[in-house]
């Protein structure tokens, strides 16, 4: 095991447009690579999958010996994304009740029509335009509108929560070695404000219930199944952010990938039936979420090394997705790839809650956009990285339409 600064290089903005050569280096360096800052980086598929399924691995930042200025306030409970079972399971199950099976099996599927309508409206705005901004004009407004309707958040409030959301997303970005005290304070404050805002909306649903998740949460008749105020705030913040940030990137990465590979764009235009598997392939090839952090609750032996209790373990999901030991010809974008159990939605107990919704959104968005891409081209490749948006993958610049 070597001491290394790979994580620092991977998260360096200069390398973000194409971190894949660094991931190859990471896999080469061993399943587990200890970083100079004391964390452990894991980049091979089978080892990542094993850790994501290991019950001795914690997603809860409080499992780490207290570190300066954590992401969550003292005493406050993180959302279930960052909790362990059994508490994680309890809250995830409650959050799932109005959203998915077994209690609401048809919910997501019933949103198809809405999603198609929103997509159509957005595309109408493109008519007669020379140049469009895929992020601002398309990939961002779609999932935001969808999650707003699902949760019960007024779309007009978008500028308000976008600000909080940007702070929270930036706060979750992995940047080794950096002093995060200030950032973490900003994160805590944004989370608290956003939580209050959403609680307030939920309160109003008590008297004016409508067909959305906030109404369902706040009007749950069985006290055993009701979220506390704090849980409701945390869950609603989680859903609002998780529900759109990543999907924006998936749609955008899709457009970017297809514009870079016109033969595949052409193929999808001819074979629209490939779209669902193409979206899976995107989740493997250019996943919106590149890494997740975990903390061992016991010394965990893995591939000949030990991950010590309380250490920080960074799982490079995007690297696992390109592991040649798991995927044949992994650096090839193959929309019809069989046996594609990618790590794009994670795996194990924290497997993405919104996967079915995200899939429909991406399939609808790309399906509607592909026929229009015609002779479109990127204005600039790689796209410039908007300094204010710190998502793990940069959104690309506007593609140009020549027609």
């Amino acid at each position: 095991m070597t001491e290394d600064t790979l994580l620092e290089r991977i998260t360096d903005y200069a390398n973000r447009p194409d971190p894949y050569p660094l991931y190859a280096e990471l896999r080469e360096a061993g399943p587990v690579v200890r970083q100079a800052d004391g964390s452990y980086l894991v980049g091979t598929y089978h080892e990542i999958a094993a850790l994501l399924h290991d019950p001795r691995i914690s997603a809860d930042p409080r499992s780490r010996p207290a570190s300066a200025g954590d992401l969550y306030e003292e005493g406050a409970q993180p959302p279930f994304l960052r909790l362990d079972d059994p508490e994680h399971h309890r809250l995830r199950t409650l959050a799932m009740r109005p959203f998915g099976p077994p209690h609401s099996p048809g919910r997501v599927d019933a949103m198809r029509g809405q999603i198609a309508d929103i997509t159509r409206e957005l595309l109408q705005g493109f008519r007669d335009r020379e140049q469009i901004d895929i992020v601002d004009d398309f990939a961002y407004p779609l999932p935001v509108t969808v999650i707003c309707r699902l949760l019960g958040v007024p779309r007009e409030d978008e500028p308000l929560f976008r600000e909080w959301s940007d702070v929270l997303v930036a706060g979750a970005d992995v940047k080794p070695g950096e002093d995060t005290t200030e950032r973490n304070q900003a994160t805590q404050q944004a989370r608290a404000e956003m939580g209050r805002y959403l609680l307030d909306l939920a309160e109003r649903r008590r008297t004016h219930p409508s067909d959305d998740l906030l109404s369902a949460f706040v009007n749950e008749p069985d006290p055993a199944l009701r979220l506390t105020r704090e849980e409701l705030a945390q869950t609603a913040v989680l859903l609002l952010i998780a529900g759109h940030e990543t999907t924006v990137n998936l749609i955008t990465n899709g457009v970017l990938t297809l514009l870079r590979q016109p033969d595949q764009l052409d193929r999808l235009r001819r074979e629209p039936g490939l779209l669902p598997s193409a979206v899976e392939e995107l989740l493997r090839y250019e996943p919106p979420v590149h890494m997740r952090e975990r903390i061992p609750l016991a010394d965990i032996g893995l591939a000949g090394t030990t991950l010590p209790t309380g250490s920080t373990v960074v799982l490079a999901l995007a690297s696992g997705n390109r592991d040649p030991k798991r995927f044949h010809d992994p650096d090839r974008f193959e929309p019809a790839r069989p046996d594609n159990q990618h790590l794009g939605f994670g795996s194990g107990i924290h497997l993405c809650y919104g996967g079915p919704l995200a899939r429909i959104e991406a399939q609808t968005a790309l399906g509607a956009l592909i026929p229009l891409l015609g002779t479109a081209a990127l204005v600039q490749d790689p796209p410039p990285l908007p300094a204010e948006r710190h998502a793990p993958r940069p959104p690309p610049p506007p593609p140009r339409r020549d027609q």
Partner: protein
């Protein structure tokens, strides 16, 4: 050599899960010769697990469980035709209908059938069912839909328990009679059997354990009306489902000289059948429920499984080996895996729970109806069963594959106090149960004459 194996004539007997998956894999692996699939059921391959679940609940029609075809195997399908014999010297399969079918390589995938009620007259009463085929399921589902006053289920194994669960979900009164101390005890051992019993009773099943059914009764018109139990009691019911486990379909191989007996056709880890002397054949392969194969994780004892996942995995290995020369052949080493859904519980099993002396609850709890139970044998992990905790299964599978020490290492966030206290696994001798096991270790010997014939 490789080229030769890609050509020629391959015959598959058994047109169900294993047969279909093998046929598809043969083509995937480049087999270009002629392929014939013989199956005695009149239907194209269909899936059985839904038959005791969605079909009995009326959610899926009995003829709507057709297996998805992953790729067209370009085969000649001889459906509704039974293989009646195998001539190993002449390399021909004898058929109930038409000329013998010559082959260069043969795959035996004839699976199992439901063990019938031992008294044929009683078994023939109208209202007495077994459950293995889609016709069985269709008939039973129609009877359940008609709203019988009570259903009697004989046998508290997985199938019997699922049937009872479906009946309760439909609001039907149901009695389960099990000879052993509790439902699922043979498959899961004492602790989880107690949970299963609580689930039965909690859902309103009239569960009778430690009893056998001694006679089925009909009215004058040959209609089932009730049964006598060994404790002297009598159950009045209009429907009876006999869920006593499965019988391997090996009779057609009686004169084939193969190591075929009541526990299946013995084969090596490469799915090649043994003949009765324990010599491995090179042209006869076996896959699915009808097979018995050695497994290194379980001291190389021969395993007999009735598991969907095993049928698929083994069929793929068998097909690969049928078209690959020696050094390229693969072993079938998949860890046994099984699932069942009943009374709102999702039960998943990995490994061989009956190959155990102790168990611990490693995550969750019985009270929460959500747990992972880990089974150990002589200090190593040999199996795990999750209840409503399927996402943990992979981790325990890894422990089994690596023969990790038992009890498993501490550290799980949801590890209960009970994890410190292994208790006896309490798996009874299968002979004391009503139903046959869905997974059994059957010793080391491939010779059919050394296999004691039961029943």
């Amino acid at each position: 050599m490789t080229d030769d194996l890609r050509k020629g004539r391959i015959v598959i007997v058994g047109a169900s899960l294993a047969g279909l998956r093998a046929a598809e894999t043969l083509r995937e692996e480049g087999f270009t010769g002629s392929l014939t699939v013989v199956g005695d059921e009149a239907y194209p391959p269909y899936d059985r697990p839904p038959l005791s679940k969605q079909v009995l609940l009326g959610q899926t029609a009995p003829d709507a469980t057709g297996l998805p075809i992953r790729r067209d195997p370009d085969a000649e399908w001889r459906l509704g035709v039974r293989a009646t014999g195998l001539d190993p010297m002449g390399k021909r399969v004898l058929l109930s209908d038409g000329d013998p079918l010559p082959f260069d390589r043969l795959l035996i995938a004839t699976g199992t059938r439901a063990r019938p009620w031992p008294n044929p007259e009683e078994a023939a009463l109208e209202g007495v069912f077994t459950l293995r085929t889609c016709d069985d399921a269709g008939g039973l589902a129609a009877r359940l839909a008609a709203g019988p006053r009570r259903v009697l289920v004989i046998g508290g194994g997985f199938t019997g328990s699922e049937i009872a669960s479906a009946c309760r979900e439909r609001g039907l009164e149901v009695t389960v009679a099990e000879r052993g101390p509790g439902p699922l005890v043979g498959a899961l051992g004492g602790t989880l059997s107690k949970l299963a019993a609580a689930m039965h009773r909690g859902h309103g099943v009239d569960l009778r354990c430690g009893v056998t059914v001694t006679a089925l009764h009909g009215d004058g018109g040959g209609r089932f009306i009730g049964a006598d139990l060994s404790d002297g009691s009598r159950v009045e019911a209009d429907v009876c489902v006999v869920a006593l486990g499965a019988v391997r379909n090996v009779e057609w191989l009686a004169d084939a000289g193969l190591a075929a007996g009541p526990r299946g056709v013995a084969c090596d880890a490469g799915c090649r059948a043994f003949n009765m002397y324990g010599i491995v054949t090179d042209d006869v392969f076996v896959a699915g429920d009808v097979s018995r194969f050695p497994h290194p994780l379980f001291e190389y004892q021969m395993l007999s499984l009735e598991h969907w996942g095993n049928a698929v995995a083994q069929a793929e290995v068998a097909a690969h080996n049928m078209v690959s020369p020696g050094p390229l052949r693969r072993p079938h080493l998949a860890v046994p895996m099984f699932w069942s859904s009943q009374f709102g519980l999702n039960i998943k099993s990995v490994g061989v729970p009956s190959f155990s002396d102790q168990v611990v609850i490693a995550q969750g709890s019985l009270e929460a109806r959500r747990l992972a139970m880990v089974y150990g044998y002589r200090g190593r992990v040999t199996a795990a069963v999750t209840v409503n905790m399927a996402k943990s299964l992979e981790y325990y599978q890894h422990l089994i594959e690596t023969a990790a020490p038992f009890p498993p290492a501490p550290g799980a966030a949801d590890r209960p106090m009970a994890a410190e206290i292994p208790v006896p696994s309490d798996v009874p001798d299968p002979k004391g149960l009503s139903h046959g096991p869905t997974v059994a270790l059957t010793g080391y010997l491939p010779d059919r004459r050394l296999t004691v014939v039961q029943h």
